[in-house]
C-alpha cells in the first residue's frame, strides 16, 4: 500500500546503518521505503555484542562492577548503582545514609549529563549542524570533570561498591557539584531559548512518531519515552529506593507521546533533577560512606535469585541475579532500557518519512553498549 495513496511505485530497501551518521553507534535499521515513506522497519542489532552476561558469570561478584560501566557508557554511575542495588537486595546489606545521598547526587548528575546530550543529539539528527550538541557537551564537561575528581575516571567511573561507594566526597568536590547545579538552570534556559520555540523544530517533532499510552505500557517502554506518552511511572517514586522518598520533586508526564514530548520531558526532568540535587547537596549528612560490614574480598551472596532495578536516565535498568552461594553469580542478566525501548521503534516509524525515522530513533535515546551488551 502506498502511503500517499496516489501512485504505486517500486519500494526501496535501505539499510540505515551499521555505519550511518545518526544511528548512535553500530545499529542498523532495515527500512523499506515507498518514496520517502517508511513501510517496514526492522532493527538489527548485535554488532557490539560481547556477551557481557557470560563474562560476568565467569567473574566474581565485584569483578563485574567495572564492567557495568561499559553498558551505557554515558551513565556509568547509574549502571553501578543498579547492580549494587540488586546485590544489596540479595545480601541484605544496609547502605549508610551518607552513601545513599552520594548515590543520589551521582545518579541525578548522570541524568543531567545523559538528558542534555540526548536532546543535543536529537537536534543534531534534525539537522542542526551540531550547534545544540556542542552546547550540551560544554556543560557535560563540567560533570565529567567532577566525576574525574571523585572517582578518577571521566566516563568509566566504577564508583559504587556493595554497601556504599568507593571513596567519600570531600568538601571541595561537594562545592564543585554545587557549582554545576547552580549553573545548570541558566544552561537550560539558554538551550530552550535557542531551540524549543524554533518553528522548524516544532514542525519536525510535533505529531511525529506518536506512541500511545497503552502500547507504551504493553511494550514495557520505560523512562522518559514512556512518561512522554502519559505513563505516570517513575521507579524513583514507585520503589522509593535509596533515599528518594526524602526529596520533593515532580515527575513530568506528557500527553501526546510524540517526539516533541519526549524532547520536552527530558528538559523538564533535568529541571526536576536540579531540584533533587539542590536538596541532596543541602542535606547530605556526615557518616561512613560504605557499610562497615561490607567485604570487598571473598564476597559471597546467599543462594537465591533477586531482581533490582532503578530509574536510569534512559528508563528502567534492572539486574536479575541468580546465586548459588558462591563467589560468582550463577546467572547475571541485565534488563537494558534502551534495548527494550527499541521494541516499538517500528510502530512509531511506520507511515513516517525517512527523515522522521532518524529523529524518532534519536528521541528514544539508545546507547549501543547497552542494547547489544
Amino acid at each position: 500500500m502506498s502511503a500517499t495513496g496516489i501512485i504505486q511505485t517500486q519500494t526501496l530497501e535501505v539499510s540505515l546503518g551499521p555505519q550511518h551518521p545518526s544511528t548512535h553507534g553500530v545499529f542498523r535499521m532495515d527500512v523499506v521505503l515507498d518514496g520517502e515513506y517508511v513501510v517496514k522497519l526492522k532493527p538489527v542489532m548485535g554488532y557490539l555484542h560481547r556477551n557481557h552476561e557470560q563474562l560476568a558469570e565467569k567473574m566474581t561478584w565485584l569483578g563485574s562492577m567495572p564492567y557495568t560501566d561499559r553498558l551505557d557508557y554515558f551513565c556509568s554511575m547509574t549502571n553501578n548503582w543498579a547492580y549494587a542495588l540488586a546485590v544489596e537486595k540479595m545480601t541484605g546489606l544496609k547502605v549508610p545514609e551518607r552513601a545513599e545521598y552520594i548515590r543520589v547526587i551521582m545518579a541525578e548528575l548522570t541524568r543531567l549529563l545523559n538528558h542534555s546530550c540526548a536532546i543535543g543529539f536529537l537536534l543534531s539528527d534534525c539537522g542542526a549542524w551540531f550547534t545544540p550538541v556542542l552546547y550540551a557537551l560544554r556543560e557535560r564537561e563540567w560533570i565529567l570533570d567532577f566525576f574525574e575528581t571523585v572517582s578518577g575516571a571521566r566516563m568509566m567511573c566504577n564508583y559504587m561498591r556493595f554497601g556504599g561507594v568507593r571513596v567519600d566526597l570531600d568538601d571541595a568536590s561537594l562545592a564543585m557539584a554545587r557549582n554545576i547545579v547552580a549553573r545548570w538552570p541558566a544552561f537550560l534556559d539558554e538551550f530552550e531559548k535557542l531551540m524549543t520555540e524554533n518553528e522548524v523544530l516544532l514542525a519536525r517533532t510535533q505529531r511525529v512518531g506518536i506512541l500511545s499510552r497503552n502500547l507504551a505500557i504493553n511494550a514495557s517502554v520505560s523512562g522518559p519515552v514512556a512518561r512522554a506518552s502519559g505513563v505516570e511511572y517513575d521507579i524513583r517514586k514507585v520503589d522509593k529506593y535509596g533515599v528518594y522518598d526524602r526529596f520533593d520533586f515532580g515527575v513530568p508526564v506528557g500527553e501526546a507521546g510524540d517526539t516533541f514530548d519526549r524532547y520536552m520531558i527530558r528538559i523538564l526532568e533535568m529541571r526536576e533533577a536540579v531540584k533533587i540535587l539542590e536538596q541532596a547537596l543541602r542535606d547530605i549528612p556526615a557518616g561512613p560512606f560504605i557499610a562497615p560490614e561490607a567485604k570487598l574480598r571473598n564476597f559471597k551472596v546467599p543462594a537465591g535469585d533477586g531482581y533490582g532495578r532503578i530509574e536510569a536516565p534512559k528508563g528502567e535498568l534492572g539486574f536479575y541475579l541468580v546465586s548459588e552461594g558462591g563467589a560468582k553469580p550463577y546467572r547475571y542478566h541485565v534488563r537494558p532500557p534502551s534495548f527494550i525501548n527499541l521494541t516499538i521503534l517500528e510502530d512509531m516509524c511506520l507511515g513516517q518519512k525517512v527523515a522522521d525515522t532518524v529523529i524518532i530513533l534519536g528521541s528514544v535515546d539508545i546507547v549501543l553498549g547497552e542494547v547489544d551488551r
Binding site: S124, L134, R204, G250, V251, V253
Partner: protein, 384 residues
C-alpha cells in the same frame, strides 16, 4: 570583450590577431575565476570560523595565521586522497557529474557585475541566463546520485531534483518584479536602475518581499541549511555525493560554495543595488569602491547563510516542498500584482501604501490558509 581586444591591439600591435582574440576572451574569465575562487576559499574559512564562533569553539586555527591557510591544506589533502569509484557505478556518468556541478556555477559568474564597468560578459539577457544556467545543476546532481548506484545517493538525488525544480518557480517569479521595475534583462541595467537614495529594490514593499522569496529560494537552490535535504547527513549519509572521494568530492564542495556565492551575487545585483553605493562613481577609484560595495553586500548575504546553518534544524521534505508551492509561489504571484499596482499608481505614496497593504493582506491570508501545519502549545503535568 571588445574593449579588451581594442586595448591589446593598441598596446601590442605586433601580437597576432587570433592570440589577441583569445586573450580578450580568456582574460576576463581568468580574472573572474581567480577572484571568485579566492572568495570561495575564503568563504570556507569564514564559514568554519563563524560556525565555530556560534558553537563555542575555535574553528580552524592551526594552519597559517588564524587558520587562514586551512582551505589550501584541505585542497591539498583532497587532491592526494584516493579516488574511489564504486564497482557497480556507472563510470562515465560518475566521472562527469562533479565536472558538470562546477560548470554552471562558474558560468553564472559571467553575468554578475562585480564592479562598475566590470562584468565578464554583459549579456542582454543576463538575469535570464543566470537563472537558466543554474537550473542545469539539477542534472549534474541527478547524475551523481544515479551513477553512484547507492540507494542513499539516489534518494538524495531525487530529493535534490524535486527541490530545485520546485524552488525554481517562485525564484523566477520573484525575479520578474525586478525585470518589471527595471524594464531590462541585463544585469548592468538592473543595477543602474537602482540608483538613488532609496533606489535599491529591497527598499520597496514588493522588492522586500521579492528579496526574501529570492533569498530563500536561492538557499534552497544551492541546498544550504535549513534546506540541505539532498545531502542531509543525518538521514541519507551524504546524499548524492556519498560515493565520491578525493578531488571529485572537492569539486562538489566547490560547486556548492561557488553556487552559493554566485546566487548571492545575483541577489545583490537584483535587490541590493549591486555595486552601487556612495563613492562608486568617482572617476579614479570608483571601480575599486564599487567592488568593495559589492563584496560587502555579498558578505552580508553569505553571513546570513552561515548564520542560518548554525542555528536552524533541517526541514522535512514534504514541508520543504509545501513551503515552496503553498506559500512562496502564491506570494510571488501576489508580489507581481503588487508591483503592477505600484507601477500604475498615481504617485509614489499611493503606490507604496497600496502595494504594502496588498502584500500584508496576502501574507496574513496565506499564513492563515496554511495554518493546518502550525503548532500547538503544550503543557505538562507533574505527578509526585
Amino acid at each position: 570583450m571588445d574593449a579588451i581586444y581594442q586595448l591589446i591591439h593598441d598596446y601590442c600591435p605586433t601580437m597576432p590577431d587570433w592570440l589577441a582574440l583569445a586573450l580578450a576572451i580568456l582574460l576576463p574569465i581568468a580574472i573572474v575565476m581567480g577572484v571568485f575562487l579566492t572568495v570561495f576559499a575564503l568563504l570556507t574559512w569564514v564559514e568554519r570560523k563563524a560556525l565555530g564562533r556560534i558553537q563555542n569553539r575555535r574553528g580552524p586555527n592551526r594552519v597559517g595565521p588564524v587558520g587562514l591557510f586551512q582551505p589550501i591544506a584541505d585542497g591539498l589533502k583532497l587532491l592526494t586522497k584516493e579516488d574511489i569509484v564504486p564497482n557497480a557505478a556507472d563510470k562515465v556518468v560518475h566521472f562527469l557529474a562533479p565536472v558538470l556541478v562546477v560548470v554552471p556555477a562558474f558560468m553564472v559568474l559571467a553575468v554578475v557585475p562585480v564592479a562598475k564597468g566590470f562584468i565578464a560578459v554583459d549579456l542582454n539577457i543576463g538575469v535570464l541566463f543566470a537563472l537558466a544556467v543554474s537550473t542545469a545543476s539539477v542534472l549534474a546532481l541527478f547524475m551523481a546520485g544515479w551513477a553512484s548506484h547507492n540507494k542513499f545517493s539516489l534518494l538524495g538525488a531525487m530529493r535534490g531534483v524535486a527541490q530545485v525544480v520546485s524552488y525554481e518557480v517562485p525564484m523566477v517569479l520573484a525575479a520578474v518584479v525586478v525585470l518589471m521595475a527595471s524594464g531590462s534583462l541585463s544585469s548592468v541595467s538592473i543595477v543602474e536602475a537602482q540608483r538613488g537614495l532609496t533606489g535599491w529594490f529591497v527598499c520597496k514593499p514588493w522588492g522586500l518581499v521579492g528579496f526574501v522569496i529570492f533569498q530563500l529560494c536561492a538557499m534552497a537552490e544551492v541546498a544550504r541549511t535549513p534546506f540541505d535535504l539532498p545531502e542531509a547527513e543525518s538521514e541519507i549519509v551524504a546524499g548524492y555525493h556519498t560515493e565520491y572521494s578525493g578531488f571529485k568530492f572537492a569539486l562538489f564542495q566547490m560547486g556548492e560554495y561557488v553556487a552559493a556565492i554566485t546566487m548571492g551575487g545575483i541577489t545583490v545585483t537584483m535587490f541590493l543595488g549591486g555595486y552601487l553605493g556612495p563613492g562608486c562613481d568617482l572617476p579614479k577609484f570608483g571601480w575599486l569602491i564599487s567592488a568593495c560595495w559589492f563584496f560587502a553586500k555579498l558578505g552580508i548575504i553569505v553571513v546570513i547563510n552561515i548564520w542560518a546553518r548554525g542555528t536552524w534544524p533541517r526541514v522535512r521534505v514534504d514541508q520543504l516542498l509545501g513551503f515552496a508551492w503553498k506559500l512562496l509561489l502564491p506570494l510571488s504571484l501576489v508580489n507581481i500584482v503588487a508591483m503592477a499596482v505600484w507601477h500604475f499608481a498615481p504617485n509614489k505614496l499611493v503606490g507604496w501604501v497600496e502595494s504594502a497593504v496588498l502584500l500584508a493582506v496576502a501574507i496574513v491570508a496565506l499564513v492563515k490558509i496554511n495554518a493546518g501545519q502550525t503548532f500547538e502549545k503544550r503543557s505538562y503535568r507533574f505527578t509526585s
